[in-house]
Symmetry: C2
Subunit: 244 residues, 2 copies
Amino acid sequence: MSDVGERQGGTPPHYAMVKQMILGRIGSGEWPARHRIPSENELVAALGLSRMTINRALRELAADGVLLRIQGLGTFVAEGKSQTAVFKVRNIADEIRERGHAHAAQTVMKDEVKATPELADELGVELGAPVFHSLVIHLENDIPVQLEDRHVNPALAPDYLAQDFSAQTPNSYLSAVAPWTTVEHTVEAVLPAPWEARLLAIARGDPCLLIRRRTFSGERVVTSVRLLMPGGRSRIESRQGAGS
Amino acid sequence: MSDVGERQGGTPPHYAMVKQMILGRIGSGEWPARHRIPSENELVAALGLSRMTINRALRELAADGVLLRIQGLGTFVAEGKSQTAVFKVRNIADEIRERGHAHAAQTVMKDEVKATPELADELGVELGAPVFHSLVIHLENDIPVQLEDRHVNPALAPDYLAQDFSAQTPNSYLSAVAPWTTVEHTVEAVLPAPWEARLLAIARGDPCLLIRRRTFSGERVVTSVRLLMPGGRSRIESRQGAGS
DNA sequence: CTACAGTGCTTGTATGTACAAGCACGAGGT
DNA sequence: ACCTCGTGCTTGTACATACAAGCACTGTAG
């Protein structure tokens, strides 16, 4: 049949209209959480569109977390919706530059250490095996905004210690040498250790945001990093929905 | 031809492999930011897959912000990207129950106040207009894990104060009464005020994670809430990529 | 020299078809 | 009573094809 192209000027594409229709049903309460919505074939019959078009609409809504699809069972309205907020944490260098400020990185130290039990576990290496360690301070207009305390698996980045981190951030170097396939994050609030407070030029009692990030290349851990940011100087923001 | 199904056991689908290949090229620096990557037809010829399969891979990467596609021009590597991590913050009650623990909510206070200048601004109401205020503590196995300090716009939830928050969380009630269309979040690290520390049963110097959330229904603000969580007891986690 | 239509590329959408994979249920055997 | 296998539904992926829409370049007409 192939009846594409009869669409008028401003009419949105079919798959988008299907998405809107479904969001409308959910928003109006007609399809509450956990409700099973019609199958692809039923929607095909009801709307007179191709299954691939329906499939695309449902797949995208599932990717957005609005729907939950289970092969063999059906498609259901997800329940999380009311409460799942999404945060994005970006590369610090990019973020600073995007604000139009100057970014600089100071290498405090760079050396090779023997893996402690915790470190061996974190990086998935043998106890006592050599591990690279670096301590870098990121400055925004000469004010310290982040302390980057990083351990690197030498097997995946043997030349790590030879790099100049004021020219290329450790992050950028590592993602070039060993592209990641999986990333793991945690965010918490902590008090800085005395030496950390000194490096960040803050008082010992000032709370900090701590982001822990572990980066995997396949099954192996490339690097594990602690990003310590003064609570007053940085925060994570996000906005979701109609961007007003 | 239709040669589907020759795929082995654990082999990921073709479109996913194409995505990985592209992410690898970008990660390795072979395709830097702003670089134009091969067209769909070129990839079809190079990889021996159908254009729809290539299209799906590129479309999904574009949706993730990794690629930028311009009709008539081509597909380009987006800038920034290199380290955007995504965090999900869920409803605390759900999260606790999902861990198999007991969740309880204690209402500390519930009253009507007059909007201060800051409050009026935050909620978009007149200065001095009545505003509902509630203070609820969330407990996980009888240990306080979150202090919820909430202000509500009476216009959108007039019966708010009459609710029993030990039966239904304020959150859950509000999302039923006034479904949100937009949410705004910030996360930072702070020290608790003395009275807050007392309610959370922590020391005054213990750092806390503070999540601020503003919820909109259309153009109007439904509620603005401060979620204060002891740094040691809770954190935000996320995992991205091949789920191990 | 300039304006404009044409051409050839690109991505965007839509359809029809095919087979794989997963789940629930019931019929049948043990 | 219990186990097993088949059947019919569901979603997941892959393909071939078609046309629309947008962009840059080129050749031609003025």
